[in-house]
Structures are given as C-alpha cells and as structure tokens.
Symmetry: C2
Subunit: 430 residues, 2 copies
C-alpha cells in the first residue's frame, strides 16, 4: 500500500471500511509527514499528537464495535485557526488571542466529528483571516505563497499532511489557494456549513468550505457536513453544458492563463460537452466594487473589539483597512447590497441555458515570495453572489506551478457544480 497520508479521503475511507487501514495508522502517517515537512511548509498553528491519536483510536474501537458514525469515520481533518476548538488553542492568526481556549467547538467541528472525523490540528490562518501574509509556504515551491487566508489548510492538504481541511472564504481566498497549491477547493452555497463559533468578518460574504486533493474527496467532506447525498463519481457523468466566462477582470490574467483558458473550450467540446461563451449584463461589472464595500464596511464593524482595544497589535495592513473603511457610508453599503441582490437575479437568468459556468480561479500561478498573497479579482464576485464554486487544478504555468479554474452553478446546485467539476478535471488531466 502507498503511504497512508498520500491517500485521498474517499480511498482511505474505503480502506478503513474494508479493514485494510486503521484511523490510527492514517493519523500516524499524517503526523509523521507533518514532522518531516512542516518545518519547511509551516502549515500548522497547533498540533496535539496524543489528542489526535486518541480520537483515532476511539474511532477504530467504535468501528470494531459496529458503530460507524458517518462517511468521515476515521478521517483526519485540519481546522483553520479562526474556527473555535475547545480542545486546542484558537488564536485567529493574531497575537491578540495568544493561547485563547474557546468554551465550545465551532458547529462545523462538531458536525465533522458527528460524521466520524478526527481533528488532526489547527492550520495557520493569516491574521484574522485578512490579507496580512502568514508564514506558510507553498509546498509546490517553497519560495512561493500558498495564498491566504486559509494558507495552512491549503498547504497541508497539498503536501499530503492531511486529506481534508476546513477553509473559509470572505474575499475569494479558498478558490485562489486551491489554484495556487494545485488542489481542489469547494465553496458551498452561502450559509450551507454553519458558521457558529467561527470568527466573524463580513457576514454577508463569510462562507465556510473545504480543501481536498480531489473533487470527490471535497464532495465527501461537503456532503457529510451539509447533509446532501454524495454524488456517485464512479458512474459515468454526462458531459455538462458549460458556459465559459472570462469576467470583467480578464485583462489581469497572466498570458499563460489566457492561452490555456482560450484553448480549453475546444478540449471540453472534444470530450462531448456543449460549450458556450457566457455574456453577463454589464451591470454585473459593479460587483467588484460592491464586494469591496461590503467587505470593508462589515469587517470594520465585526473587528470592533480588536480595532478599539488592540490596534497596536494589528498589522498595518489590517489596521489601515479598518481605519479607511470608515469612508463607506451606510447609504453606499446598502447600495452595494442592493447591487448584489440584483446581480444574483441576473446570474440566475444567465445560467438558465447551461449547467455550470467555468472561469479562472485566479490570474495565474502563485506569486513568488510570501508578501503578496494574490489578487481577489477573479473570485470575490462569486462570494458575494452566494453561488457554489468548485476550484480544480487545470493548467501549468510558466514557472511550472499549477493554475486553476472554478466551476460555478446556481445557488443550491452544489451537486451539479461538483459533478461537472469532476468531469472537467478528468478531461483537462487527460
């Protein structure tokens, strides 16, 4: 058998079900990988090996007694450090909360354990899940950023330290990190995974999602948490009706992304998909501005405690964002929410003729250095639109690093997005 830590979640779950693998073996392999690699990658904020192994042994004992909690039984997961855990410190990526121990687990952590998951540890978040870079490096090339804010979750999954990890998206970071690290990212329909016990940033945008190395793995995790039936990825999926969309930010894309994306429709058509070019109303160009206003306005208010009592312990990046956000009036904010409402309806109309929309996950490869965690231009509009987005690795850029596309469906059509993303990934991989 291959090293257990390199197994995908679906595969590992099957091996545990058949008795060929224990949760303890799997967790141990993950801990060994972390021990070997994390001094370079710096993906983990906190690990308590004894605690994780103890949970794994409990899962193994439960299984031996015929009690399988759910589809995640025995699978280790990483938990982004803006998500509360009562058993491990939760520091929200800032020294303000050094050593903080929440009184309760976040609802999504409870849900994961209810379905059998083992909490492996806490993954590094940028400061309060904002744009000040974290220490984490991109395991594909340590000189590059993994993207933020769930830097640790993406890097840990990409480096086979854990098969699944929780992530969050307020700007568009879940999708971007997946692209930069060459893994899958699944941002469900807004408010599908409950946010209780997660540090609030911009409540109109904040979305909990997951990282995995593959679409079926991400679907396994998402389906168990949200409570929909896991799609059957073994059965052949009918080629989807795909609308290709370049977004108003197309000119920001790197040349290698432009070339690969332009060549994509022919490849998808050759595999049987019906591919069209999507035109969305010009009114939707207002979404980037609207999402900046909503993000700034709400984050300034959500982080009132940190801004008022700990301004000196915030990075200048975040301190400035919170100070400057004072310029957005309530009228401007309400206008931005109205724009979002209208654009949600326009997108629903635009998606009527197709199953999914495919658009770049980011402008191109992960930038060199850790200072620049990348632009949000290609994904922030989808966060505000509340639609499910599945990010998949799609191309290779000039520096040899992965580049991704995201597969988007209408609100609530998460299964459609996951199935189509899997189909598209198979085609682009071939």
């Amino acid at each position: 058998m291959q090293d257990p830590n390199t197994l995908g979640a679906v595969e590992a779950a099957a091996l545990m079900a058949s008795g060929a693998l224990t949760s303890e073996q799997l967790v141990l392999a993950c801990l060994e990988r972390i021990h070997a690699r994390d001094p370079d990658v710096l993906a983990w904020a906190c690990i308590d090996p004894a605690l994780a192994l103890g949970e794994a042994r409990t899962r193994d004992r439960e299984r031996s007694e015929g009690h399988v909690r759910g589809p995640l039984h025995g699978l280790p997961v990483g938990v982004k450090d803006i998500i509360d855990t009562a058993t491990l410190p939760t520091e929200y990526g800032t020294p303000i909360y050094r050593g903080h121990r929440p009184a309760a687990d976040a609802a999504c952590v409870v849900a994961a354990r209810e379905q059998g998951a083992v909490v492996l540890g806490k993954t590094v978040s940028t400061e309060l899940a904002n744009r000040h870079p974290a220490i984490t490096r991109n395991p594909r090339n340590l000189a590059h950023t993994p993207g933020g804010s769930s830097s640790g979750s993406a890097a840990a999954v990409a480096d086979c330290m854990v098969p699944l990890a929780f992530a969050t998206q307020t700007g568009g970071s879940l999708v971007r990190r997946a692209a930069y690290c060459g893994i899958a990212g699944y941002k469900p329909t807004y408010n599908s995974i409950n946010g209780a016990g997660i540090k609030l940033l911009a409540p109109s945008l904040d979305t909990v999602g997951v990282h995995a190395r593959d679409v079926p793995d991400a679907a396994l995790f998402g389906a168990a948490l949200i409570g929909f039936d896991m799609p059957d990825f073994d059965r052949p999926i009918a080629p989807p009706r795909i609308a290709v969309y370049r977004t108003p930010q197309w000119s920001l894309a790197e040349p290698s992304m432009m070339a690969a994306f332009d060549a994509m429709p022919a490849r998808l058509r050759a595999a049987g998909a019906v591919v069209s070019e999507l035109e969305l109303p010009a009114a939707m160009d207002a979404l980037i501005d609207a999402s900046n206003v909503v993000n700034d306005y709400e984050t300034r208010r959500s982080l009132a405690f940190e801004r008022v009592h700990h301004l000196d312990r915030l990075s200048p990046t975040l301190g400035d964002k919170l100070s400057q956000a004072v310029r957005w009036t309530r009228t401007r904010y309400l206008d931005a929410l109205r724009t979002a409402d209208e654009c949600r309806r326009m997108l629903e109309d635009g998606l009527r003729g197709c199953d999914v929309l495919v658009t770049p996950s980011a402008e191109g490869e992960a930038p060199r250095g850790l200072e620049n965690i990348g632009r949000t231009a290609f994904h922030q509009m989808w966060t505000l639109l509340h639609v499910p987005s599945v990010a998949i690795p799609a191309f290779t850029g000039q520096a040899g690093l992965p580049m991704g596309v995201q597969v988007i469906a209408a609100r609530g059509e998460d299964v459609r997005a996951l199935e189509a993303a899997h189909w598209i990934q198979q085609v682009l991989r071939a």
Copy 2:
C-alpha cells in the same frame, strides 16, 4: 428633577450635556431601582455596580475634559446575556455556560461604548434565546410573562431600571416583548447592527435590535450604533401614508386587539394620514412555514455543540426542537429560503404606494403566567423578510395590559419607519 432612572435616553443625554445630571447620578439611580425592584422582576442576569459606576465616572471625567464620545455619552445600557462581554460573565441563559467569560466584547458592545454608553449589566435571556421561559416577570403585572427571549431587556427598560437595552430577534420576540411590556422596540433592517460575539442561532433570521421606552430613545440608540443621522423628532413630522395589514394570522388576534386595530385607521385618518388597507399576494402566506423551517434547520446546526455534548442540560422544549428539526431536508430548507427571497420582492412591490405598513405586534396582551411566552405568528414573517420594524404601545387590553402595533418599512428605510412610528404613537396616545 424627576428620579433620573425614569428619564428617557434623549432627555437624560440632554441633561448630561447641560451639566444638570452626571452619568454617575444616572447609573446610581438605575442601580437603586434595580436593588428595590429586581427581587420581584428578575430582569438581570449579572450586575457589577462598581464596574458600572467606574465606567460612568470615566464618562463624566471625559466630558469635563471636553471629550464627548458620541450621542450615548454617559447613558447606561443593558446587554442581553447572549451577547459577549469580557468584563462580565456571559451565560447565554443556560447552565452549560455557567460563569463563562468571553475573551472579547461583542462588536455591538464595543460600538455602544465607542459612542459613550456605560454597560450597566447583563439582562436575562431565555435558554439560548429560545422558547423555554426565563424567570423574568412582566413589570406591568408580575403575574404575567414579559415575553421572551430578551425577557430581561424588555422588563428592565419597562421598569425604569435602565433607559436602553440590547435585544435580539430570531423568531419575533423583540417586537412581542415590546408589546407585552408597553415599551418601544426597534428591530433594524437585517444585519444593520453587527452580530460578532453574539450567540448564533439562525443566521438567516438573527437580528440585533434595541428596547427603549420611547421611539426617539430607540432611534437615538439605533442611530448611534448603526451610523445614520438621528431623525429630528422635535420638528413636526408630515403625516405618513400608512397601509394597514392584518396578516394571514388575523384570526389568532384577541377580540380586544381586533376591535382596537379596526378602530385605528379612522383615528390615523383624523390626524391627517392617508390610510389604505394592504393586500399582499396569497403566496406570502407561505412565509410562516418558511420561517419555521429556516429557524429549526439553522438552529439545530448552530447549537450542534450544545446538542451533542450537553443534551441533558438543555430544557426538554429546546432539546425536542433540536431533535425534531432533523426532519427538515436541505431541499425543504433551500425552498424556504427561495420563498423568502420571492416574498421580499413581493413586499417591496406591495410597499410602493405607502411609506409604512402597520400591523399588530402580537395577538394581544401578555399571557398570564410565565410558562407561555406568547405566539410568534404576528412577527416572525417580518424577521425573515429582513425589514425594519418599530414596535410601539398602542392600545390597552381587557386585563389592563398594553397591546402594541409594529410599523414596518422597506429594507434600509429605518428612518422612515422610526419617524412614522413616532407620529403614529403620538396620535394613538392622544
């Protein structure tokens, strides 16, 4: 001068500005009232007199140094005990969190202090802001419920223990409590007062609002927290265009409510208002069901930690609600959200011909006994619709207790709702 604790917020703020009253005197008067009355009313979960007086003295010193923080400078406020405070225990109305000390203040508490408020103490919440009754009594008649879930906030304000208090509404409790206690309640447009640091229940419904004894007082508090200009209530307000709406739940109203409500349009017309009868599409009848589904589905998930780890410490009422909520599928939940979306558009259309809509706040007077905290039928639809609602005392019922109406405007039109509510209250008082 009258006893300072009986002063409204606007009045007290003016006296402090003129130097005729100090924050310390005001807080002291409130503490004395609490000392005298709270053994009967039981509105407070936690009071630390030294802390409150210390804050008040700081405000007085700041003022003497020419530093006025904002319109709430020196005003004491009550904070519902599902709202985090770092300086006072926060127990969410349940023994599960006995003695719990949050690491940070909720954003709304920081915002109130930024505008000058003094935190007087924590007010009693029902268990996790749900329907299991709290110990608090209605100060209008101690044999009656004040309503829930912010039982303490409403009772404390009604009994002149504090001029202003934070409250929250997930079903429709803010509006109902205002009606039962004969005070004002202001539920702003959804997501206007930031929810960071407040126990999450049903994120699509949860709305932070305020209680005060008068509409201008509620407006003062709301405007300072949300950041809109305080309406000028001294200037004559033009009679509003009012649509009277009886809701699909009209048959549940008590005879005295029906009679008083039916007589209201003539009184409003006599004072100069244009009054029409509102008909809303029958499709909106689905809102009650939709709001029950959204509330149950989301609360089950938000309270996952309490449900899984502390089921034995939950009341049977709440335990059953969380268990039974498993029956709502994701499809049914997404349908309910879609219904809400569609009804928001229908209401916007329905409101085009008028400034505000007026509808009962509750079925009638506060029920006798503490066991029944009242029906949500008359207000839960407005929570899901995300519109601002201002509850005012309007009539007197058969038991001599107050009955209320709520004044509702389109999303974002909070000022319009507040001004019209003030106008209507003046007319109905005359």
